[in-house]
């Protein structure tokens, strides 16, 4: 005789007595070996509810089973630093920025949902990352987005891009968070798999730091925010952990959540008031894997046990049972651990903000996570086995056979305008500047609120977003995100380091000192040895680079299975870098705002065109080697930029990257509405279009020329005075002159023409 099932649910007792029952582990994304591992650690088959927990917690998305082994390098190679208050493994890294302030920031992918349903997929991507930041005890203060789509002219891009941008605009604007920057890039490799990486940054006082740990037996577990519905079930285990292949028979039907930013805004204000009143012992947001993830991570984090009454979870759909409740990814929910004496006040604050809050369990010292459904035990597991001790894959990583041929295909063979070909140089500049990757992004960024909260000092189109943190002292933080799939395709190790180096420059050029890194690693299927090789190289490159620059990795996110059929995307690690600005009143923007400033090119230019925007846009060519990386040169450049900004020597500064000096000068002229006249040192084509790293162009304030020159000399910084700002055009002596109106037309028309 088997144990009675009063509620019709698969109970622990029933599972023990029916060892041979067939369970749909494969449909839930577990392998046979993983299922056996679950059975082994429980000493019986799992219940349906337990199977739900393990299937989501051991998914690639939640367990990092293919990547964990490599991500350890971020800790092993971490630079000596005292700025990290919380690091990898927390909801987000927390960095000390001085004056008692800390900043927490993280970037996360929402690629697959954004392809299936662009608007809601992108919207809930913003919502999810904001809750990660909120869970650290911080007030979220800004967001950024790194977006990559298929070719700008492709019909599906017109479906996906406006939807994604609309979703980010809808959610972020309604939440009252300024959008201060990010990226927008196009490549055919993203046509069937766009990348939507959302970053959020939050500010807190040191004492407000919160942890995801259920401590103190007797404390209550409170679920608050939206009700739980059937949305997003299996999002982590299925959607984010496999490619779209083989979706026949409905076995792996993607499921995208629906966001309510108004609810999230209430949740943010409610949480901050709860923190202020010191009513929260531990807290966790509900994102991927919902209640399953929050309960196992809180219990594992506290080293305690927990008993949860699943039937107490408020539902939007009363037909949901334990497995669905555990896996649901309904948005705008948080879980807090609260002392019994504080529960009343906790609930009162939630009521003030019209936030539904429900006691659903209790912390105990059993070391087990137990869940009941109308009195019957349906889950009884060691929480760490789901949260921290998932399977570890050792996947083969093999350098692709075609890599050598790709690197040997040097762009040196491509036809290019010679030094006397003024028309050819002029045309090349306009072609590159008007390409979707370099074109003006206002069509997108105008849909985002960049002013709300009143602390945005720099936003698009400047190199980095810059936020004021303290109105009295002027303390602030700068943030940039960078990635370059073309460089990484050619050499994932160097390409990742170039992304890091570019983010470093983008932050430094505003006058902020680079401090710490987050990352979002977008790759194809880890089951493809070539992709796995790209991944291992990228991680090694980033870890080595962060060690060299002294900027620790504070956390991040891995997104695998970004591919269409058997074709993976270009490896696209996106690096987010945070810097601290001592006084934002001394910020440096990217635009030439006034005439009469010396235009100085900083750094050394070599003929480096592998993976360049010029080669791609004018020849459709991707081959050769990406530019060289020199972290000592990057650090030197950053020191010069930060020192010069602090002394007020600079009127403008702009990093050189995609499209080289040509694009940088055009952007600086257009951003500030002032032209310039320059004389190029060396072969005009190389100086204009090379993408050598560790370079920037600055406008030195009249009267500050000598001091800036001395500063460069002291640091050993290569610097050439190439011209002066002013006039109605971008003039290159002996080559061409382009009126700003013509530059602007080419720069601004591209995206509206393709998307409007």
């Amino acid at each position: 005789m088997t144990a009675p099932q009063v509620t019709g649910q698969d109970t622990v007792a029933h599972a023990a007595e029916t060892p041979d029952r067939q369970q749909p582990f494969a449909e839930l994304g577990l392998t046979a070996a993983e299922f056996d591992q679950v059975t082994g650690l429980l000493g019986r088959r799992p219940t349906d509810a337990e199977l739900a927990i393990y299937s989501v917690m051991w998914s690639e998305h939640c367990s990092y089973k293919s990547s964990r082994k490599y991500l350890r390098q971020f800790a092993e190679k971490a630079p000596q630093t005292s700025v990290l208050l919380a690091g990898i493994g927390q909801n987000a890294g927390v960095v000390d920025i001085g004056q008692g302030y800390a900043v927490t920031f993280k970037i996360e992918s929402h690629n697959h949902p954004s392809f299936v349903e662009p608007f809601q997929g992108a919207a809930t991507g913003v919502g999810g990352i904001v809750r990660d930041i909120l869970a650290m005890g911080a007030r979220p203060v800004a967001v950024m987005d790194a977006l990559r789509f298929g070719p700008a002219h492709a019909p599906d891009t017109r479906r996906v891009l406006p939807g994604v941008v609309g979703g980010i605009s809808f959610y972020g604007n309604c939440l009252g968070l300024p959008n201060i920057g990010g990226e927008l890039a196009f490549d055919p490799c993203y046509a069937g798999n766009p990348l939507v990486n959302a970053l959020c940054v939050g500010v807190l006082r040191h004492r407000d730091l919160k942890v995801a740990a259920a401590t103190g037996p007797g404390n209550k577990v409170i679920l608050f925010g939206s009700r739980t519905g059937p949305d997003g079930i299996g999002g982590a285990s299925v959607l984010a952990s496999a490619s779209f292949e083989g979706s026949g028979e409905g076995a792996k039907r993607p499921s995208v959540q629906v966001g309510d930013p108004f609810m999230e805004k209430l949740l943010v204000e409610c949480c901050l008031e709860l923190y202020q009143a010191d009513l929260v012992v531990g807290i966790q947001d509900l994102g991927a894997a919902g209640v399953a993830c929050a309960t196992t991570e809180l219990a594992a984090g506290g080293g305690t046990g927990m008993r949860v009454w699943l039937d107490a979870v408020p539902l939007r759909d009363s037909s949901l049972g334990p497995p669905e409740i555990l896996m649901s990814e309904s948005q705008e929910r948080m879980m807090a651990i609260v002392r019994p004496a504080d529960v009343k006040e906790f609930l009162a604050i939630c009521a003030k903000w019209d936030v539904l809050a429900t006691e659903i369990g209790e912390v105990n010292d059993s070391g087990r996570l137990e869940m009941t459904w109308h009195g019957e035990l349906v889950v009884d597991i060691p929480p760490g086995s789901a949260a921290d001790e998932g399977p570890l894959c050792d996947r083969p990583a093999i350098r692709p056979a075609g890599q050598d041929a790709l690197q040997a295909d040097d762009p040196g063979r491509l036809p290019r305008p010679g030094s006397g070909d003024s028309d050819g140089l002029r045309a090349a500049l306009l072609t590159v500047l008007g390409s979707p990757d370099a074109a003006d992004k206002a069509w997108v960024t105008e849909q985002y609120d960049r002013y709300v909260r009143g602390d945005t000092v720099l936003a698009m189109p400047h190199d980095a977003g810059l936020l004021r943190v303290d109105e009295e002292t002027g303390l602030g933080v700068a943030l940039a995100t960078d990635g370059n799939g073309r460089y990484c395709q050619l050499d994932p190790y160097t390409g990742t380091q170039l992304a890091l180096a570019e983010a470093h420059r983008n932050v430094a050029v505003t006058g902020a000192r680079p401090l710490a890194v987050t990352n979002c690693l977008n790759f194809g299927s880890p089951e493809d040895p070539a992709v796995m090789w790209q991944f291992t190289e990228a991680v090694r490159g980033l870890a080595d680079g962060c060690l060299a620059l002294g900027t620790p990795v504070t956390g991040g996110n891995v997104s695998f299975y970004n591919q269409t059929g058997g074709t993976p995307i270009q490896p696209t690690p996106v690096v987010g870098l945070l810097g601290v600005h001592d006084d934002v009143r001394h910020r440096v923007g990217s635009g030439f705002e006034a005439a009469g400033a010396s235009v100085v090119l900083l750094g050394e230019t070599r003929p480096e065109f592998g993976g360049s925007l010029w080669a791609w846009v004018t020849h459709g060519h991707l081959g050769g080697r990406p530019p060289e990386v020199d972290f000592a040169a990057e650090q030197r450049l950053a020191r010069v930029l930060v020192t010069a900004a602090g002394r007020g020597l600079l009127q403008a500064g702009h990093d050189l990257s995609d499209g080289g000096l040509a694009v940088a000068l055009a952007e600086a002229c257009l951003a500030g509405g002032t032209g310039c006249s320059v004389t190029l040192p060396g072969d005009p084509f190389t100086v204009l279009f090379s993408e050598s790293a560790a370079r920037a162009v600055v406008a030195v304030a009249p009267g500050a020329e000598e001091e800036f020159k001395d500063l460069c000399a002291e640091e050993g910084q290569p610097a050439s005075v190439i011209g002066v700002t002013g006039g109605p055009s971008l003039e290159v002596t002996g080559a061409f002159e382009i009126p700003l109106a013509e530059l602007a037309a080419v720069h601004k028309q591209t995206l509206p023409a393709l998307l409007a």
Partner: protein
């Protein structure tokens, strides 16, 4: 004694913090008001800030109009209390019938955040007396439902009565009828403006400081009252 200017926070208000800062920067004492309390706490003027009160559910401003604080505000405004509605606040004032007309979806159907220029048409209201008639100022437009609409008769009355507060110059960004960016009540104490003056009070964080005049204007109005 410093003038006390209240800023109402509804669920979903977003620019309340910015409005409070602008009030402080203008030299007045900012007072936080809560939507759920039927009290104006004796303030000398009230700002309904931008945002998405109640998530824009039903219609922008349609639910906020019934908040307990509005039960106090509506009669006070009728008796001459200076009230400024910015963006969502403007929408709420229209829903509350303190101002004529309505705000509808932008002509392009997309949210727009842009630095724009408006011309002050009426410089004798409680909120615009520090400007010159015809003065052009740069402020921030950021809205998805910013297109001002009114029927022909109402428009004629607004034009004839000098109730058009400000117009967009250099191109109509959102399809507002007659380029209208803001309107005023007949008495000049209740003003609604779609763009945001509170985001233009400091060159460091805005396109300039042209917007501060709205907040200094009300101080004069209060001093005279």
């Amino acid at each position: 004694m410093k003038a006390r200017i209240g800023v109402v926070t509804f669920p979903g208000s977003l620019d309340d913090r910015d409005a409070l800062r602008a009030v402080r920067q203008a030299g007045a004492e900012p007072v936080q008001l809560w939507h759920g309390e039927p009290s104006l706490r004796g303030v000398d003027g009230v700002i309904l800030p931008g945002g998405f009160s109640y998530g824009d559910y039903l219609r922008t401003g349609a639910i906020a109009r019934f908040a307990p604080v509005m039960a106090e505000l509506i009669p006070a405004a009728a008796s001459g209390l200076p009230v400024l509605g910015i963006c969502n606040g403007f929408q709420i004032l229209c829903e509350a019938h303190l101002l004529p007309g309505a705000l509808t979806r932008n002509a392009g159907l997309r949210f727009i955040n842009r630095d724009i220029t408006i011309r002050i048409e009426n410089a004798s209201t409680a909120w615009t007396s520090q400007y010159r008639p015809g003065q052009e100022i740069t402020v921030v437009l950021k809205s998805g439902e910013g297109a001002y609409m009114a029927d022909t008769g109402t428009l004629a009355e607004l034009e004839a009565g000098g109730q058009v507060l400000a117009r967009y110059t250099g191109g109509n960004p959102n399809g507002s009828v007659s380029d209208i960016a803001g309107v005023t009540s007949e008495a000049g104490n209740v003003v609604g403006l779609m763009p945001h003056p509170e985001h233009a009070i400091d060159v460091l964080t805005g396109p300039g400081d042209d917007g501060l005049g709205f907040f200094t204007s009300v101080l004069s109005a209060v001093a005279l009252a």
